[in-house]
Symmetry: C2
Subunit: 333 residues, 2 copies
């Protein structure tokens, strides 16, 4: 039986908590932390509108959750995308001897943007005998770990391409805003300059793939471009006119000696097709397509809980999905 | 650097050896064993027609290989499909402190047909601190481990279906014979009764999937049926007339309380479409299709070498692909 603490009771966090409660034979939810005044002090039964949920009270801090409840084996953390904003939480958990699994996008490959911070967390985790892991559908699976897993059948990978496309109209309002839905071309350029648009994690996926195949990249070239509506799209929260932005296309190319070893192509737009595709150029070359796509939020929730369930398979330290997908091909160099 | 010994220099073994030689930075081939009089005593350079291959001589026995060469970390064993016929090899390797990775189909889930033998090998492997693992494209990946790996994004799996279809005309003559190509309906029934036809491993895949999702099956229902040609198929080794057998369709259903939890559907026939598809009914339901298929022999070779490369991630004992795919969903019960 795995004892799980959950930190961050937002939209994703709420569904993580429900997913934990759906596997009573394997996991016990032993606490919830969220300092938000609408949540702290509230009873889980009321928050979920489910009288058969455990009578847990959301605690405002980790210290209070640990004082109130049993010691968890692992905490699932769904609070932020950027590592510096979640760092203190991982450090506090590690100091308390608790492993972390988090959807923090930059934690999928923390060495990329925060090498010093990664080193600090790795040393702390090792000293305390806990693991810290970043996961989620993207980064963490659809455009990285799944390709590494599929490559188990391959020899001599020469390059990999992952394409993810999703209909933003079917996603949370938060994501719909993030992809610039309804903006004019000028507004898009402003939002891009202000770094208010786009998706965190494409470069992390590229770095994870390269590390998995044993490639040292010279650099990762990220691009963001708008996708314009050619006809009106009338959705609940957005009435997108022709010529306005219906979403974004983001690419990340991992290059070495002028060769593109990793190519990632992510479209999140209203009225876009929904699928994931992985193309591995190797012996044999393999193309795998998720015909259903890998639905964003639900897949992230599954990964968080399934990785928490596998936490004892990870040696102490700051870990990545590479440690949980040990069978993969080697890349050629 | 991993030191690999190879046992069994047949068609697959030869390509395994080539794949090992293609990754000189990661692995060293330190010996080859095959007692066949056409092979034992021969030099690898001559056998491969490759003067830059290592000047290794094929040894007739494991004992002689160990006397001649350095101690390997792991042996890749490609000698037989049935566990009783390969058992002595695994035992001898374990006794010498060497882990095994093998394409022996029954080793993919040895507990299914040989529980006593599995227990004996497990105890021996644990006593000697080595791992023994069965892998390959099928069983071992296409219809089991890949589905478990994809399920990492799912919660509450209610059932799983894996469909594999391949054009036998593009495979080795050995496989073409195994699928009854060119037989009359009467010959097919005779071959089936004599157990000379079909594929070892579908039930193993069903058992592996069930174990992965935490399901105890009441039983596994295996069926074999011929696929008849409706028009002439003129292939190099077979001239198949309308009404003759062009291949086989095999199914395995894993049942519990009358519910089908696992459904496997394998077609190996001349002029069949080539693809693999995995359908997971869960939250979310996911359908993934390998548009290229997962080519049989090449994929098995990749898996053997890639699993050998991951052997230090396995604790001692008789292991399965479940141990190398730790992130997966739980099934509902």
């Amino acid at each position: 039986m795995l004892h799980i603490l959950h930190i961050g009771f937002g939209e994703i966090g709420r569904d993580v908590v429900k997913a934990i409660l759906q596997r009573p034979a394997a996991a016990t939810l032993c606490g919830i932390v969220d300092p938000h005044p609408n949540l702290a002090g509230k009873n889980l039964r009321d928050l979920l509108g489910n009288p058969s949920a455990p009578a847990l009270v959301v605690q405002p801090t980790l210290a209070q959750a640990l004082a109130e409840g049993p010691k968890p084996d692992v905490a699932i953390v769904t609070t932020g995308s950027r590592l510096p904003s979640v760092r203190a939480t991982f450090a506090e958990l590690a100091a308390s001897g608790i492993s972390s699994v988090s959807s923090c996008e930059e934690l999928a490959f923390p060495q990329l943007r925060h090498p010093a911070l990664a080193q600090e967390l790795d040393a702390l985790a090792k000293a305390k005998g806990v693991a810290i892991l970043g996961t989620g559908v993207n980064p963490g699976f659809a455009m990285d770990a799944l390709a590494l897993g599929v490559s188990a059948v391959c020899s001599q990978v020469t390059s990999v391409r992952c394409v993810r496309s999703l209909d933003a109209g079917k996603r949370r309002p938060q994501l719909q805003k993030k992809v610039a839905a309804g903006m004019t071309p000028a507004e898009f350029q402003q939002g891009l300059a202000a770094k208010k648009l786009g998706h965190v994690g494409l470069a992390e996926s590229a770095a994870l793939l390269a590390a998995g195949f044993g490639w040292t990249l010279d650099h990762i070239d990220e691009k963001f471009e708008p996708v314009y509506a050619t006809e009106r799209i009338n959705a609940p929260l957005f009435d997108i006119q022709p010529g306005q932005v219906r979403g974004m296309r983001m690419t990340a190319m991992g290059l070495r000696d002028g060769r593109t070893l990793v190519e990632l192509d992510l479209t999140m737009a209203f009225a876009a097709e929904t699928f994931d595709q992985i193309e591995i150029r190797a012996n044999p070359s393999i193309t795998v397509r998720a015909l259903t796509g890998l639905p964003g939020d639900q897949s992230t929730i599954g990964l968080l809980v399934n990785c928490a369930q596998a936490i004892d398979r990870l040696p102490p330290g700051l870990r990545t999905m590479l440690d949980l997908m040990p069978v993969r091909a080697l890349g050629t160099v």
